[in-house]
C-alpha cells in the first residue's frame, strides 16, 4: 500500500532552550490517497505546529527534525534543497487555514487573487475560465459573481470554499485542513466538511483534518490520531477509537462530550492541565491520569494492536483500557 503522505519520527523543538523544548515529538502519520485522516487534540497539543512543519512553514525559533522518513507523494523530502521544498508547497502539499477572512487579501478581488495563483495558465481569459471551473468544483453556484467580489462581500462559508478552491488549484496530492470550520456556524460547518470529504473521494487527494472537534472527526475521517502535548497517544480507525478508547486521555476527552447525557447533569471532572514543563522521559499525560503508576515515569512506546496496516490500533500507554470492556461511548 503506498501512502500519499508518510511521516515517521517527526519532532519539532525550540532552538534556544537548553535542553530543547519538544513541541512535537516522534510523530508518525500515514495518509492514503483519497482518505480523510483526523488529528484531534486540545489547544497547545501541537497539531497546528505539525501542519506547519509538514509545509516547511515553521515560525522562526522552531526547527523540525525527521528521525526516520518524510515522504510526500513519493518524494523523499530529506533529499530536497530549500528551493525544491518550497516548490512542493501548493503543488504537492497544500493547506487551508482556520480563519478564512484572514487568509484572503481584503483589498483585492477574488479574481485578482486567483490570477496571482494560476501562473501556469497563459493569458487573462484562460486564468478566468480556470478560476471559474475551480469555484464550480467547490460547489459555489455563481462563480462569476464570486470572482468579481471582494472578501468582505462573501459569507464565511463562501470564503472558506474559495480558499479550498485555491488550495486545490495546482492539483496537490495532500491537503492539510487546519481547523477549517472553527470560525463557521453549524450550517456552513456541515457544508465544508462534506466538501472536504468529496475532495478526497473524487480527486484522490489525501486530506488531513486538524481539529479539536470530535464531531467533525466522526463525520468524515476514516482514521484518527489523538494528540496531546506534542505526542500521539492513540491512533486507529475512527469508529474503533471513538467507540472503544484505550488511552485514558482519549477516554477522558470522550467523557466530556455532552451527547445523550441527561440535561443539567454534572459532567465527569477531568483534572486541569498544568502548565509545568513535562518530564522528557515520562508519559506526557501522567499528571492528569488517574491510572498513573511508577511505570509511567518512562515514556510508553506506541503499542500496535490487532492487524497491522491501516486498520491497526496504536496506544501509547502502560495501562491501556482493556478493549471492548466499556460500554460504547455515545457520540452524539
Amino acid at each position: 500500500m503506498t501512502f500519499v503522505l508518510e511521516v515517521s519520527g517527526l519532532s519539532v523543538a525550540t532552538d534556544n532552550a537548553d535542553p530543547p523544548n519538544c513541541v512535537v515529538k516522534d510523530l508518525d502519520l500515514e495518509v492514503s490517497p483519497g482518505e480523510v485522516v483526523g488529528i484531534v487534540g486540545e489547544s497547545g497539543s501541537g497539531k497546528s505546529i505539525t501542519a506547519l512543519a509538514l509545509l516547511d512553514l515553521l515560525p522562526r525559533g522552531l526547527t523540525a527534525h525527521v528521525a526516520r522518513r518524510l515522504v510526500i507523494h513519493g518524494i523523499d523530502v530529506a533529499t530536497l534543497s530549500h528551493g525544491e521544498r518550497r516548490r512542493l508547497r501548493g503543488a504537492v502539499i497544500s493547506v487551508v487555514f482556520q480563519e478564512p477572512a484572514a487568509a484572503l487579501n481584503p483589498v483585492r478581488s477574488i479574481r485578482a487573487q486567483f490570477s496571482e495563483l494560476l501562473t501556469s495558465e497563459f493569458g487573462a481569459a484562460a486564468r478566468y475560465s480556470a478560476s471559474i471551473s475551480l469555484l464550480e468544483a467547490v460547489g459555489l453556484s455563481d462563480p462569476r459573481r464570486v470572482l468579481a467580489s471582494y472578501p468582505f462581500e462573501l459569507s464565511g462559508g463562501m470564503k472558506q470554499r474559495v480558499l479550498i478552491a485555491m488550495a486545490l488549484a495546482k492539483r496537490p496530492a495532500v491537503l492539510l485542513a487546519d481547523e477549517p470550520t472553527t470560525a463557521l456556524d453549524v450550517l456552513a460547518r456541515a457544508e465544508i466538511l462534506r466538501l472536504l470529504s468529496d475532495v478526497a473521494r473524487t480527486r484522490g487527494v489525501g486530506v488531513v483534518l486538524i481539529t479539536h472537534d470530535i464531531g467533525s472527526i466522526r463525520a468524515i475521517c476514516s482514521r484518527v490520531y489523538v494528540m496531546y502535548k506534542g505526542r500521539i497517544l492513540e491512533a486507529g480507525p475512527t469508529q474503533a477509537v471513538l467507540r472503544g478508547p484505550r488511552h485514558p486521555y482519549t477516554r477522558a476527552l470522550l467523557n466530556c462530550i455532552l451527547g445523550d447525557r441527561p440535561p443539567k447533569s454534572r459532567l465527569p471532572a477531568v483534572p486541569m492541565a498544568d502548565d509545568s514543563p513535562t518530564d522528557e522521559h515520562g508519559c506526557v499525560y501522567v499528571s492528569r491520569c488517574a491510572k498513573a503508576t511508577r511505570a509511567c515515569a518512562v515514556s510508553p512506546t506506541i503499542d500496535v494492536q490487532g492487524p497491522t496496516g491501516s486498520a491497526s490500533r496504536k496506544v501509547a500507554c502502560w495501562h491501556p483500557e482493556p478493549s471492548a470492556v466499556h460500554a460504547p461511548v455515545d457520540l452524539r
Binding site: L187, R194, I257, P263, S265, A269, V270, M272
Partner: protein
C-alpha cells in the same frame, strides 16, 4: 412546572416588541431584530440559537443597552430600562455579560486580582479588605488557583481567561447573566468544567440566564427553553427538549442535524 413558578416571580429579564436596525447605504434602515419578545424567569436559562448573522449577538447587546433600540421595552427585575445613567446603573447593579472572546474582554494591563476586584469596588459597600476577600472567593469558585491572581491576561491560557471573565461576572452576585458563546473558544475538558460551574451558580443563585450559542449540545445541557432566530425574527420558541427532539420548523431541523454532524 418549574418554568411556570419561575415566571410567577419577577422575571429577571423581559423584552417586549424590541426592534433594532442599523443604518445602511444611502440612509436606509436595515432591520436586524424584528418584534422580539421574550421573558426569562429566576433560575431559568433561555438559549438563543441560529446561524451567524441572524441577530443573536445584537439581541444580547441591545438587551444591556450596548446597542440602541428603535422601539420596544426591556425590563430587568421588573424595572424598566431607560437610556441614560439610571439605566446604566440598573444594568451595572444586577446584570453581567460574558463575551465570546475572553482575551478581548480583559484589560491586558490589569492583573487578574484587579480584574476581579473592580466590579466589587464599583458596586460599592465593600471595604478594600472585603473586596480582596470577595475577589479571592470568586477566583476559587471557578477553580482558579490563588497563584494566578497576580498574573496578567497574556500569561493565562484560553480556558483560564474565560474562567476569569466568568469569575468577574459572578463576583457581584448578579441576577441576570448574559453569556455570548461562553464555551466556543474552550477545549472540551475545560468546557465540561465551565458547564458544571454554570449549572451550579444558576441553580444556587437563582440566576436568569440568556445563553447565546450555536452549539446544540450546550443548549440541550444548559437551557430550559430555546428560541430559534432566523434573520432577526423568532422562528420558533419552546422547551428545549421539544425544540431539539421535535422541531416544528424545517429550519430548526436543519440546524439540529447540522450540529449533530449528520451529513446526509
Amino acid at each position: 412546572m418549574e418554568t411556570d413558578s419561575a415566571l410567577r416571580e419577577v422575571p429577571g429579564l423581559r423584552v417586549d416588541h424590541l426592534e433594532v436596525s442599523y443604518r445602511g447605504k444611502g440612509g436606509t434602515r436595515i432591520s436586524v431584530l424584528h418584534d422580539m419578545s421574550l421573558a426569562i424567569g429566576a433560575g431559568e436559562t433561555l438559549a438563543v440559537v441560529g446561524p451567524s448573522g441572524c441577530g443573536k449577538t445584537t439581541l444580547a447587546r441591545a438587551v444591556v443597552g450596548l446597542i440602541p433600540s428603535d422601539a420596544g421595552t426591556v425590563e430587568i427585575l421588573g424595572k424598566r430600562l431607560d437610556r441614560g445613567s439610571k439605566g446604566r446603573q440598573l444594568i451595572a447593579s444586577c446584570c453581567h455579560f460574558v463575551f465570546q472572546d475572553p482575551y478581548g474582554s480583559l484589560n491586558p494591563r490589569q492583573s487578574v486580582r484587579a480584574v476581579l476586584e473592580e466590579p466589587i469596588r464599583l458596586k460599592g459597600g465593600s471595604s478594600a479588605t472585603q473586596c480582596r476577600i470577595r475577589a479571592e472567593e470568586a477566583a476559587r469558585r471557578v477553580g482558579l488557583s490563588p497563584s494566578l491572581l497576580t498574573r496578567y491576561p497574556h500569561a493565562l491560557s484560553g480556558g483560564q481567561r474565560q474562567r476569569v471573565a466568568l469569575a468577574r461576572a459572578l463576583a457581584t452576585e448578579p441576577k441576570l447573566l448574559i453569556l455570548d458563546e461562553p464555551t466556543s473558544a474552550l477545549d472540551l475538558t475545560v468546557q465540561a468544567q465551565i458547564l458544571n460551574l454554570l449549572l451550579e451558580v444558576i441553580e444556587i443563585q437563582r440566576l436568569s440566564t440568556l445563553l447565546i450559542t450555536h452549539d446544540m449540545g450546550v443548549v440541550r445541557h444548559l437551557a430550559d427553553r430555546v428560541l430559534v432566530l432566523r434573520e432577526g425574527c423568532i422562528e420558533e420558541e419552546g422547551p428545549s427538549a421539544e425544540i431539539l427532539e421535535n422541531p416544528r420548523s424545517r429550519f430548526t431541523q436543519q440546524l439540529n442535524l447540522a450540529s449533530l454532524h449528520r451529513l446526509d
